[in-house]
């Protein structure tokens, strides 16, 4: 029963990683760049929700929607001003820029909101679910996180695979030139990807801070790195891979904390990544390119 409870917590944390990892993997798939500022968008989103609820008294759901819109805009602005001018530049230049944007966001947050940790009030009001005569307690946050993540993942899969715009995204991620010949506006598609990824980051931020309620300018950094790990773990560029990688990583982290060592949990998570990359360099669901030419 104890194990089941850890497992559920792991899935819950993992779903948050998965949502963040989706942002990394989609941007990588389309723009072929690692957006290291993605984690900090989570932090900005969380602060906006925090300010909305605690300082302005806006209902949580409205605050979340405002935060999603703001993060979407933030994502588009970052792409437009930091990354778009570098299209065609070496990937190292883009990577360093992304790290720069990450520090910029963290320091802006420090400037606006100060360094003292804010204690985030959970937006979840659902009572915990007690199963098996109270032996298994699933918190409201966990339920909301798992449900929300599932809905987002299914929605995203449907969007990408079933809609015209989603298919255009897949086309751009495979061959920008050929996509342009189909009449697809590549710049628009890249901006859209950043927009979607950032909106997801806002949601992830809220879910994360509801479960782990300390909010400070570096809050997004660690989950960001872990979600990036999850994306690589699952196979960067692959949407199902990011989902699988995220959930597995969350489970590994929680189980390590529970059964091995709290301090070593993060080390174990990253060690798993190293092992996976040694055995399967493309990640679990990484694209095998089997083209006949």
């Amino acid at each position: 029963m104890e194990f089941l409870s850890y497992l559920i917590n792991g899935i819950s944390l993992g779903s948050v990683y998965a949502i963040i990892a989706l942002g990394y993997t989609m941007v990588y798939g389309i723009a072929k760049m690692l957006n290291f500022a993605h984690g900090d968008v989570i932090m900005v989103g969380s602060y906006l929700v925090f300010i909305g609820i605690n300082q302005m008294g806006i209902p949580p759901l409205v605050a979340i929607i405002i935060s999603m819109v703001a993060c979407t805009l933030l994502g588009i602005i970052i792409e437009r001003f930091a990354y778009k001018p570098l299209r065609g530049a070496s990937s190292l230049a883009v990577l360093i820029t992304a790290i720069g944007v990450s520090y910029l966001l963290q320091n802006l947050a420090l400037l606006f909101w100060g360094s003292d940790p804010k204690s985030f009030t959970s937006v979840v009001t659902i009572p915990p679910l007690k199963l098996a005569n109270g032996q298994l307690v699933i918190s409201g946050e966990t339920i909301v996180t798992i449900v929300t993540s599932t809905v987002i993942m299914i929605g995203l899969m449907l969007f990408v695979n079933r809609t015209k715009v989603g298919n255009a995204m897949l086309a751009v991620s495979e061959d920008k030139g050929a996509a342009q010949l189909m009449g697809i506006n590549v710049n628009y598609t890249i901006a859209l990807t950043f927009a979607i990824g950032s909106a997801l980051a806002a949601v992830a931020g809220v879910l994360l801070c509801s479960a782990y309620p300390t909010l400070q300018p570096t809050t997004g950094a660690m989950p960001g790195i872990k979600a990036f790990t999850a994306a690589v773990f699952g196979g960067i560029g692959s949407i199902p891979g990011a989902m699988l990688g995220g959930v597995l990583l969350g489970i590994i982290e929680i189980l390590s904390k529970a059964y091995i060592s709290t301090q070593l949990a993060d080390a174990i998570v990253f060690a798993v990544l190293i092992v996976v990359l040694l055995v399967r360099p493309t990640g679990l669901l990484g694209k095998k390119i089997n083209e006949k030419v």
Partner: protein
């Protein structure tokens, strides 16, 4: 039969390499025109400059009277100029049907019309129909070429640019592909065909230009060029 595509004094550079040197040519409505030349002559560069993937340093390209030299590729196709790129470049992780549907990306006349044209493409290219749910990357070279042509036709182009459709295909398949090109032309689509396979290209073309290291060396009616002694030596191997 007016001029559909006009290329005037085009110069294209890759960094400091002068790939296309001041070439001019045109394609009239309804024609099949071929641009033949060896590897590295600048054929694909010319194609990419017309379709907007590359920008020339100087010179002009106009299509149906519209200057398209500085237009972005995704807008040029909306004028009715569609390209089948070299090496087919089908979206290998998408299915055959998804590839074809993406070909209709620019169309605004409703999904029923697109579905209708999809069926027409499948009638023309029955092998694609059998494989409509298959990932494009799993198709054979010939099938991929057919898919690339079908995809380019899905936007209902007025003119089709074909870049080396015979590349890597068996003689039998090349014949089949060229027959398709002729059929498409007969239905009113103007064709600009870039080929290394000069023999086949000259057989179906009305006019031809010979491209050599970035300049046009010769031009004329295709049958005349096919009988030209220099061409026969250099490109037809006889």
């Amino acid at each position: 039969m007016g001029e559909m595509l006009q290329v005037k004094n085009l110069n294209v550079f890759y960094g400091s390499i002068h790939a296309i040197k001041d070439i001019s040519f045109h394609v009239n409505e309804g024609e099949i025109v071929t641009l033949i030349g060896a590897n590295g002559a600048g054929k694909t560069t010319t194609m990419h400059t017309i379709s907007g993937l590359l920008k020339p340093k100087t010179g002009e390209v106009s299509f149906l009277g519209n200057p398209i030299t500085q237009m972005e590729a995704h807008k040029i196709i909306r004028l009715g100029l569609s390209q089948v790129p070299e090496g087919r470049r089908v979206f290998s992780h998408l299915t055959v049907q998804e590839n074809l549907t993406l070909g209709a990306y620019t169309r605004k006349d409703g999904s029923a019309a697109v579905a209708n044209d999809l069926e027409r493409i499948f009638e023309r290219l029955p092998r694609l129909k059998e494989r409509r749910k298959q990932q494009a990357g799993t198709l054979s070279g010939g099938e991929q070429q057919m898919l690339a042509i079908g995809r380019a036709l899905m936007c209902k182009p007025k003119m089709l640019l074909l870049d080396e459709p015979s590349m890597g295909l068996s003689p039998l398949l090349v014949k089949e592909i060229f027959k398709i090109i002729q059929d498409v032309n007969q239905e009113g689509v103007t064709i600009l065909l870039v080929e290394q396979n000069a023999k086949m290209a000259l057989e179906i073309a009305d006019r031809a230009y010979v491209l050599e290291t970035g300049t046009i060396k010769m031009e004329g009616p295709a049958d005349e060029l096919a009988n030209n002694i220099e061409i026969r030596k250099a490109y037809l191997g006889c």
